[in-house]
Symmetry: C2
Subunit: 196 residues, 2 copies
């Protein structure tokens, strides 16, 4: 993460970044294509040369972010052996990302906003859930197989763990008032209670 570097004359990438900044400041509905164009430093027509619609920009931004997120997670947990440690690291990673790239996460939350209004965006968010679920569930299965811990109901616990992370992100973006450092510190003790 922390990525989104606009270097190589990749126009679409640059437009995505411009859009991200606008969405972050004004939300999706309140951002006009002219806003994006002016942040991009070009005119509106130019935007439409690269993208067929405003929504296509949002979708592209979402896909990009989703890929980056999963690459980040995998890189973080790959070197660890214990499944419990991987889950702890995953939780910490999200909170650290939220602290570091707050603006990014903030702009990503517009997806949730649009998903409540738009079926095709909702499908993308649901796909994201599915991918989170795959990761967490496989870690719970692995840890149980290795006799690291035992959980009564893996799908239910997986769902609840993911829900907690998501809830924290949503809340922080809304209120900007959480003591994230403090929460990060409590993650190991929390996961250990969860998975004794």
């Amino acid at each position: 993460m922390g990525g989104f570097k606009a270097s190589t004359g990749d126009k679409k990438r640059r437009i995505i970044i411009a859009a991200m900044r606008c969405f972050q400041r004004k939300g999706y509905v309140n951002t006009t294509v002219d806003d994006i164009a002016s942040e991009y430093g070009r005119s509106k027509g130019s935007i439409y040369w690269h993208y067929p619609s405003k929504k296509a920009i949002l979708i592209d931004l979402f896909s990009y972010w989703m890929d980056e997120t999963f690459d980040g997670i995998n890189a973080e947990i790959a070197p660890l052996k214990s499944s419990r440690d991987k889950l702890i690291r995953m939780g910490e990673f999200f909170i650290e990302s939220l602290i570091r790239d707050y603006e990014l996460y903030s702009s990503m939350m517009v997806f949730w906003g649009t998903a409540f209004e738009d079926a095709s965006m909702r499908r993308m968010v649901v796909d994201l859930y599915r991918r989170y679920d795959e990761v967490v569930t496989s870690l719970l299965v692995q840890g149980q197989a290795d006799r690291e811990f035992s959980v009564p109901d893996i799908p239910a616990f997986s769902t609840m763990l993911i829900a907690m992370i998501e809830g924290l992100i949503v809340r922080q973006v809304m209120s900007r008032s959480l003591d994230l450092e403090r929460i990060r510190r409590e993650i190991p003790s929390l996961v250990k209670r969860f998975l004794p």
Copy 2:
């Protein structure tokens, strides 16, 4: 909950219900005032006789729901003695409400959507968080004082418990695919792990 009865010729109440149904189907942005009027069974001019703006309807709906929710929670947990039981009951109550009044929760989620776009709506959501926090924190403090359980960091744990509930609601409204009965069954064991 399960309320929102339109009986007493209270026009504003009826308008709120009509708006709720529309928001639930189409989201806030995609619902026009004409939609609300037609669901209300009257014309647009009539809506504007009762409410000064579309947003005022949303805000009124939110306040109404917020009050109902906290009344519901208090009624549920009042008869219980143990703080841990109260927290379990609270969790179960939310899941049960989500199963029973799915449409209601679904329409409430438009607040989150608008809150990402609109500062005044965000303030209302933040106020809701504050009220949740008050309830959960006081239960954790009480339980700790009664030596029922011990938590290392009450604010952090309170935040995470609330985040989990919120995350579950958001996800269910998005995906409609959770096995909520299963999750409800796991709440006691989860809270007991959380608060040993």
